[in-house]
């Protein structure tokens, strides 16, 4: 007979174990009080084990996989995505991270949230994941074939993703359908920026810059004046924007991308022997750039971080610990008050607090 203190809310395997234990102990004519305490202890233990192992459990994860993208919806809450289908969530500004179950092992390259609940993740082979509950559950919406490197969520229905082979796709129904709006040329598109739902910019291989002023209905190709690949772009309004790319380039425009000014980096295409390793060190590629208020951050190869404290007019290299130079930093997110996050190789997550950089706990 099942003891009264065993409730039906327990999971069946544990119930079976408890029942077996209690029956066995009773057969041995043990003290029923002891039996009860032993049973309760076992229940607690089982519960702790289940809680610890359950998907999305409250156990902080040790982030070791390469991270390629990050986004924050508030100074405290954000997500980071990376290799082997890894999605991490933080609610304490990146002090600790908890893993969310993506149910895929594909590399995930970009993440964007329209609000705290609705978000998209894109990745290798054009995989698109979607959540409507802040990432507690992720559903695969599409596999579009071409690698998708960046996603931007304009609202909870509309999102754009860009990627390999000039891939540009858009959903306007929360991801139920995706329209192919790919660029006609075979270039890799790496990043996009939408200061409002009508104005968007996309940058990519060989310095290609695309702009829309009608919410993506039409796109025009702009001349950035350089032939080098641009990996990151950010516009704070319809006129002011920044792009970053190969050989440490940081470009700025004040006219919606019609003209670009090289703020730093080497825009010249040099001979192999001239560029070489020295160029890589001095002008390491920059992969992402964000400006928020007066704070700007650009990140890139061999642990390179540039800060701007004058709204993106000038950029200064931040000295980082030696071990960071062994890896790359691929993505940066900034929110109000200069708070943000940078992520990179080997699960590197560093909180930005003004001009300060704070490593995540346990690293």
């Amino acid at each position: 007979m099942t003891p009264v203190w065993l409730t039906d809310s327990l999971m069946p395997p544990y119930k079976a174990v408890l029942f077996h234990v209690s029956a066995t102990v009773k057969q041995q004519s043990c003290n029923p009080v002891l039996v009860r305490y032993a049973g309760l202890s076992l229940v607690s233990l089982c519960f702790l084990l289940v809680a610890a192992r359950a998907p999305g459990g409250n156990v902080a994860a040790r982030v070791v996989d390469n991270l390629y993208g990050t986004t924050f919806v508030s100074p405290d809450e954000g997500w980071a995505v990376g290799a082997f289908g890894s999605i991490y969530h933080t609610t304490d500004g990146g002090k600790t991270w908890r893993q969310q179950q993506s149910k895929t092992l594909e590399q995930l390259f970009g993440v964007a949230f329209a609000n705290r609940e609705v978000g998209w993740v894109v990745g290798r082979t054009g995989i698109v994941l979607h959540t409507r509950d802040g990432g507690n559950t992720w559903k695969q919406q599409a596999t579009l074939g071409k690698h998708l490197f960046h996603v931007a969520a304009l609202d909870d229905k509309t999102a754009w993703a860009v990627g390999d082979w000039g891939a540009m796709v858009v959903t306007r129904d929360g991801g139920r359908t995706w329209q192919d709006r790919s660029f006609e040329r075979d270039v890799i598109l790496y990043a996009q920026s939408w200061p409002d739902p009508l104005h968007g910019w996309v940058v990519g291989e060989t310095g290609v810059v695309l702009r829309t002023t009608d919410g993506g209905e039409t796109w025009e190709e702009l001349d950035a004046g350089i032939g080098k690949t641009l990996f990151g772009v950010h516009f704070t309004d319809t006129q002011r924007g920044w792009a970053c790319g190969l050989d440490g380039l940081i470009l700025r425009t004040n006219d919606g991308g019609k003209t670009w000014e090289v703020l730093r980096g080497n825009p010249e295409i040099s001979g192999l022997e001239q560029v070489g390793v020295a160029e890589q060190l001095e002008n390491a590629s920059l992969y992402d750039i964000v400006v928020h208020g007066r704070t700007g951050v650009a990140v890139g190869d061999i642990g390179t971080i540039f800060f701007s404290s004058d709204g993106g007019k000038t950029w200064e290299r931040k000295q980082v610990p030696g071990e960071w130079k062994l890896g790359w930093i691929r993505s940066v997110a900034l929110v109000a008050n200069g708070a943000g996050m940078i992520v990179g190789a080997g699960g590197l997550t560093v909180r930005i607090d003004g001009q300060r950089l704070i490593l995540a706990e346990g690293r």
Partner: protein
């Protein structure tokens, strides 16, 4: 028990044919002297340390050409001031050492010599206009500050160099060299390496640390020379002890002769069989020599007792050896067979040890049981003196009387309870003992030994270099690893392993291809992925191999693209990490491997794979060993006393000693590994002769007295006294190892000392107490038979 007629027959044969027997034994001894002098070698053979039939070792042998040998030397060159990029002379040193290792050290595997100056380490120069793969030292060795800065930049921007060959703090660089086990010349290697270190450290620019298995064994070899001092000190101490005990030249010379003769036979047998002896297990042979002395002392003591009683040399010889023959025989055979059971382990080191040690012990039958009666016929009888006159006699008798008191009355229960508690203590801690090293290197050497200092430096500066597990992805069809799915699977497996305890990273063919793929996409990390199409993979392989020479990629995949390696790097290794890594790999293979996969995953190479194989074999063999030892001892004990109870009484100290030795090893932090297993096994079995001598004497005295307590008393006063002395001799034989520079020898000496003392305590405390409590029927029956025989004899006489 052996029939009395047989024993007497053998004794009379020896005495009648003493010259012939002496000549035969002498000829045999000369034969073994020759083999000892000409054929015996003492050094560590790497292949002797591996179980050759273990699947991991078979895999290791099969794929050594691919993933390199585990017999790898690692050299850390640390700048004494600043970084290695501050002075071009430091890079010159690295280059000189690399060239020296390649060309001047015998047995080196050229494909396994790597350093930042070796052309195999490559960097990729990229720009908007193209890509070029060049050696890291391109275009030349640094000549000035500018060149050094250029090198620093290349190191910083080349994946797989910083952290692996240059420490993250830039203060040290690493040089590695693998050795073919079969062509390895330990002495020459070590001499050359020391020359290199001395030469390059001379100007004070750098400090060099050398580690890795070849260096570890070179240190053992070096310590071998210091063993002479230990042997000398042991010899002197034993001679003094013998003199203290017998106070006669023959009392010293005869036991020493027995010990030496057995040693010659044992070592000669090793030479005859072509066995090499590992320096680490020499402590076992010292103990066996001491056992020969122990048997010799027992026989001398009994002979002296009988002579003082009878004052007739020949009668004393016959009476003493008639009584000693059965316990001596059974203990020699039990010891010999017990140690032979170590041969169940398919590790050559242990098999050789088992055969040599077993033969060595069995040779005690000749050196003591056979030759002693003959020698005693040639020498003068001992000077008579009443017992108790010497101080030593007074000491021994004092101890003996204490022991007698413990074996009687209510104290008997205390003794039995003490043994039960000891058993429980042993069992409780024994199960915590794990097979393998708890800390690499530390198992064998002291914390501040140069090897451990170097190993710590290596782990401090370079993670995972010395601790690798290699898994083979063996293709089921040609070019299996050119498939995108296969490479993807390999990558997932590697990632799964890297998530395990202690793992710090992995390297596979996928790692290299991903780097190339990324490089060809202007270095964007998002492109550090595997292509999804097989033809793209093929292109990447072409790009990867186009800039390399033959053999350079063998560490990662075979030239025909059929097999690949999955190398997991660990921060460090110990028994738990190795065990968990193997379990993790096995579980993954069981869960993910499918029959239609293009590759099968095979475990395991690398240092961790070899250690896993050795640990598994050691653990298995020990678990088989112990029951086998007890079976052998039980059968012999039963045949001796023809009684299960008698066998159990004599065995119980050994049964308790087994978990106790494991508990002591666990509590003292002594690792249970290929080196300590034989010592522990020897320790369990080798103390049983005390029990045989005591129980046999009790049975013998009971025949005379018909009273167990009186029999116990007499046995302890006579045989017990000799046991106390021989126990002292055995302890002295290993005590000097406590001061030996190798931690392993000192720890093993400590364990053996404890075991010897415990065995003696078991024989002198537990056996009399048990006999007094249980009053075994076999002893009573034997006394009755003897009494009947005496009556019949008396009747016949009338």
């Amino acid at each position: 028990m052996l029939p009395r007629e047989w024993i007497e027959g053998y004794l009379y044969f020896l005495l009648r044919r003493r010259l012939a027997v002496s000549l035969v034994v002498g000829a045999g001894t000369l034969f073994f002297i020759w083999f000892t002098a000409t054929q015996l070698t003492i050094f560590t053979s790497f292949f002797d340390l591996m179980p050759p039939k273990h699947p991991y070792i078979e895999l290791y042998i099969k794929y050594r050409n691919m993933f390199g040998t585990a017999n790898q030397l690692v050299m850390v060159v640390e700048a004494t001031q600043g970084t290695i990029f501050d002075d071009p002379r430091i890079i010159e040193k690295v280059d000189r050492i690399t060239v020296d290792l390649l060309h001047n050290v015998p047995g080196v595997n050229g494909e396994q010599v790597l350093s930042i100056t070796h052309p195999k380490l490559k960097t990729t120069l990229t720009s908007g206009s193209g890509i070029k793969v060049v050696p890291l030292m391109y275009p030349r060795l640094p000549q000035d500050k500018e060149d050094m800065e250029f090198l620093r930049q290349k190191v910083y921007t080349t994946e797989g160099v910083r952290g692996f060959f240059v420490s993250p703090d830039d203060t040290a660089t690493l040089i590695t060299a693998g050795f073919w086990e079969e062509y390895f010349d330990l002495n020459t290697m070590w001499r050359r390496v020391q020359d290199i270190v001395q030469r390059e450290e001379a100007d004070g620019l750098v400090k060099i640390y050398v580690a890795g298995p070849p260096v570890l064994y070179a240190y053992f070899n070096e310590a071998l020379g210091k063993m002479g001092y230990v042997f000398l000190a042991t010899g002197v101490a034993i001679v003094l002890l013998l003199w203290f005990y017998f106070r006669s030249l023959q009392g010293v010379l005869i036991p020493v002769f027995s010990g030496l003769m057995s040693a010659i036979w044992g070592l000669g047998f090793a030479g005859l069989c072509g066995f090499t002896l590992d320096p680490l297990v020499l402590v076992v042979f010292v103990l066996i020599t001491a056992r020969a002395l122990s048997h010799s002392v027992q026989s001398m003591e009994r002979y002296h007792d009988e002579y003082f009683l009878t004052q007739n040399k020949h009668e004393a010889i016959v009476r003493s050896y008639r009584a000693l023959f059965p316990p001596a025989m059974v203990s020699i055979v039990a010891d010999g067979l017990a140690i032979l059971t170590i041969a169940v382990a398919s590790i050559p080191l242990m098999q050789k040890l088992a055969f040599v040690a077993s033969f060595w012990i069995i040779s005690i039958f000749l050196s003591v049981v056979t030759l002693h009666p003959i020698i005693l016929t040639f020498v003068r009888p001992p000077k008579s003196h009443p017992p108790g006159r010497r101080i030593s006699d007074a000491i021994y008798e004092g101890i003996s009387r204490g022991l007698i008191a413990m074996g009687q009355g209510s104290l008997r229960w205390f003794v039995v309870a003490l043994f039960a508690v000891t058993m429980a203590f042993g069992v409780y801690f024994a199960h915590k003992l794990k097979t393998g090293d708890t800390e690499p290197g530390a198992a064998l050497l002291y914390h501040d030994h140069p090897y451990n200092v170097a190993f710590r430096k290596l782990n401090e500066k370079f993670v995972g270099v010395a601790s690798q597990l290699v898994i083979i992805a063996e293709g089921k069809k040609p070019e299996a690893i050119k498939e995108a799915k296969t490479l993807n699977d390999i990558e997932l497996f590697a990632r799964h392993m890297t998530q395990g305890e202690g793992a710090n990273g992995n390297i596979t063919a996928a790692t290299l291809l991903k780097k190339i793929y990324r490089t060809f996409r202007e270095g964007d990390p998002k492109w550090e992925m595997l292509p999804t199409r097989d033809d793209h993979i093929g292109q990447l392989f072409y790009l990867l191999t186009a800039g390399t020479s033959r053999g350079e990629m063998d560490r990662f995949f075979s030239p025909d693209y059929t097999n690949a390696t999955i190398t997991i790097l660990y921060r460090n290794y110990n028994n738990d990490i190795i065990h968990n890594a193997i379990d993790r790999a096995k579980a993954y293979i069981a869960e993910h491997a499918r029959p239609d996969d293009s590759v099968r995953y095979l475990l395991a190479g690398g240092l961790l794979g070899i250690l896993a194989a050795t640990n598994e074999e050691v653990e298995w063999s020990y678990r088989v060993n112990v029951p086998l030892i007890f079976c052998v001892v039980f059968i012999l004990s039963f045949l001796t006393y023809w009684s299960v109870l008698g066998a159990l009484i004599v065995m119980i100290p050994s049964i308790v000693a087994q978990p106790l030795s494991e508990a002591v090893m666990y509590l003292a932090g002594i690792d249970f590994n290929i080196n300590s297993l034989p010592v522990a096994a020897v320790g369990i079995g080798i103390g049983i002769d005390y029990g045989y001598y005591v129980l046999s004497r009790i049975v013998e005295e009971y025949e005379e007295t018909g009273d167990f307590d009186e029999a116990n008393r007499r046995a302890i006063l006579t045989t017990g006294k000799a046991i106390i002395f021989t126990c002292t001799t055995l302890v002295v034989s290993v005590v000097f190892w406590l001061f030996f520079p190798l931690k392993f020898q000192a720890e093993m000496a400590f364990v053996l000392m404890l075991l010897m003392i415990f065995h003696a305590a078991g024989a002198l405390l537990f056996i009399p107490a048990m006999v007094s409590l249980l009053r075994p029927r076999f002893a009573v029956a034997r006394a009755e038979q003897r009494a009947e025989a005496v009556l019949l004899q008396a009747g016949a006489g009338r």
